[in-house]
C-alpha cells in the first residue's frame, strides 16, 4: 500500500504531550493519536481536541522513551492509512507485509516483546495485529520438538503417572512465574 505523507508540524492547537516512563516528553500530533484507541479515548474524555482546553502532559508509565520513539515512527508511517479493519486471522498460516514493515520489525526479540506489550497498552490495532501475526508465523508448521528448540523451552524430569518412567516436564520459570521462551533471533522469510 502506498500513502502520501505530507509533512506537518505540530502546533499547540493540534498536539498533546505524552511523557514516557523515563521522563522524556514527546509532542504528538492529534492526527497521529487517532491510531491509538487508548490515546484517542483519553483525548476525547478530556476534550483535548478543543483549542480552549488546557492540555496537561499525559504520563505513559508503561512505555519507555525508546519504545515511544519506535511507536511514533509507526504512527507517522501509517498517518494517512485507512482505519485498520481486523480480519479473521484464525487458521491463516501465511502472512505478507510490506517492505517497510519488515524492516521496521527487524528488531531483536526482546524489543519485539516490549513493542507488542506497548502496542497492547496503547491499543494500536494495526501494530498489535502485525506483531502477533509475525509471532504466529514463527510457530506454525513446527513439531512440538522443533517448537521446544526454537522457543528454547526448558524442561525438567518428572515421573509418568501411568508408567512411573521419567518424562520431560517444563520447569522453567522466570521471576514472574512464567516460562521463559526465546525465539530464534532471525525472523523467518515472510
Amino acid at each position: 500500500m502506498s500513502c502520501e505523507e505530507p509533512t506537518t508540524s505540530p502546533t499547540p492547537e493540534n498536539n498533546i504531550t505524552v511523557v514516557s516512563s523515563d521522563g522524556k516528553e514527546f509532542l504528538l500530533d492529534l492526527k497521529l493519536t487517532e491510531q491509538s484507541e487508548t490515546l484517542a479515548r483519553l483525548i476525547s474524555n478530556f476534550e483535548y481536541d478543543r483549542t480552549d482546553v488546557k492540555k496537561d502532559p499525559v504520563p505513559l508509565g508503561n512505555i519507555t522513551s525508546a519504545q515511544m520513539q519506535k511507536i511514533i515512527e509507526w504512527l507517522q508511517h501509517h498517518r494517512y492509512y485507512p482505519k485498520w479493519e481486523q480480519n479473521d486471522i484464525h487458521y491463516s498460516t501465511s502472512f505478507t507485509f510490506e517492505t517497510w514493515v519488515e524492516e521496521y520489525l527487524n528488531i531483536p526479540n526482546n524489543e519485539m516483546f516490549e513493542l507488542l506489550n506497548a502496542a497492547n497498552y496503547l491499543n494500536i490495532p494495526r501494530l498489535f495485529s502485525t506483531i502477533c501475526r509475525i509471532m504466529a508465523s514463527r510457530i506454525t508448521g513446527k513439531s512440538a520438538e522443533q517448537i521446544r528448540t526454537v522457543l528454547n523451552i526448558k524442561t525438567d524430569v518428572k515421573n509418568d503417572v501411568y508408567t512411573g518412567i521419567p518424562i520431560q516436564e517444563d520447569s522453567s520459570s522466570s521471576e514472574d512465574g512464567m516460562s521463559e521462551i526465546s525465539l530464534s533471533p532471525s525472523p523467518p522469510p515472510i
Partner: protein, 327 residues
Amino acid sequence: MDKFPILSLPAVPLRQVLGGLCPIDLFELLQCSSRTKEILKSFEKANKTFKVGVDFQRNWVEIKGVCKFYVKEEDNNMNKDKENKKRTFCDREVPISTDEAKATNTYWPAGEKLEGTMNVGQNFVKTLGVGQLDQILISAENPAAECLSWLENCNVRLENFNLVGAEPSHADKLATTIFSDDFLSKVSVNFTSLLEPSEGWRPINFSGDMPVNMFKIHLHHSQWFTGKQLMAMNCSSIILHHSALKNEDIKKYLEAWKSGAYPKFMYLSVHVNEANKLNFDSIVNGLTDDKPTVADNTTSVEFKREDGDSIEICLGNGGKHFTAFIN
C-alpha cells in the same frame, strides 16, 4: 539468544498470537511442556479442539480435526521415508514419517503394533490432558481384554465405544467386563457391541438398578438382556438383535414411557431370536384403544402421552421385529 517470553504475554495478545495458529500448531505447542499445556488450556480454542480417538482395528490414533497417527511395523521399505525423524510416545522413541497432510506414520518393531497404538494413545491422553476419549474401536483380532485394561489404566471416559468382536474363548469374560454398571457408566454417546457371549452367559455386575445414560446402545447379541435391564436404559436409541425380551418386557417399558419416563427416548428396535416371537396385541393392550393398521405384513399403531409426544409402534416380520419411534 534474545528472549521472547511468549507465555508471559497478557491474555489479549497471547490470544491474538494463538488465533493465528491452526489446530495442528496449537496441538504441537500444547505438548511442548506442562507449562504450555497449563496456559493454553485456559484458552477456549485449545480446550475445544482436541478430541482423541483410538482405533485398535486399524491401528491409528486420531486427534479429531487435527491429525492422525498411524502405527506401523518397521520394514525395509520405510527407511527412505523416515527422514530420520523420531518422536517419543510415553517412554518409547520411534521413527516417524509424514506421508500426507495431517498424517504421521510411527514405526514400531514387528509384533508391537498393539503396544504402539497403546503408547501413542496414552501419550496424547496425558499430554493433551483429555479426560474422555472420543472413540475407541476394538476388533475381533485384537486382544480386547488388554485393550480394556489399557483403557482402565488411562482412567478416561468414552464418548463412543465399538467392540467389533472377540475370540470366542474370551467372549464371556469380556462380556462380564463391558456389560457392567461400571463400564456402561463410562460411555456417554454410542455403545456398539458385536460381541457374542455363550448361550448361558449372564452379566454379573449389570444389575439394571442403575440408569444407563447414553445416546445409543446397539447390541448385536442380546439374548441375555432382560426386561429389568431394558427399564434401566435412559437412552435415545436402543437397538437389540437376537433378543429374548418378552411381550410384557416391552409393554412395561412403553407403559413407563407413556407415564412420562425416558424423556430422551426416540427409538427402540428389537429383533428377537429364533426361539422367540412377539405378539402385537399383548404389547399394546392397555396402552391405547386405537385400532392398529396392517400394511406390508407389519402391524402398527400410534398413541400419545400427556406431554403431547407421539409414539408409533410396529411389529413385522412375523412377530420377529418390533420397533417404536417417537414422531
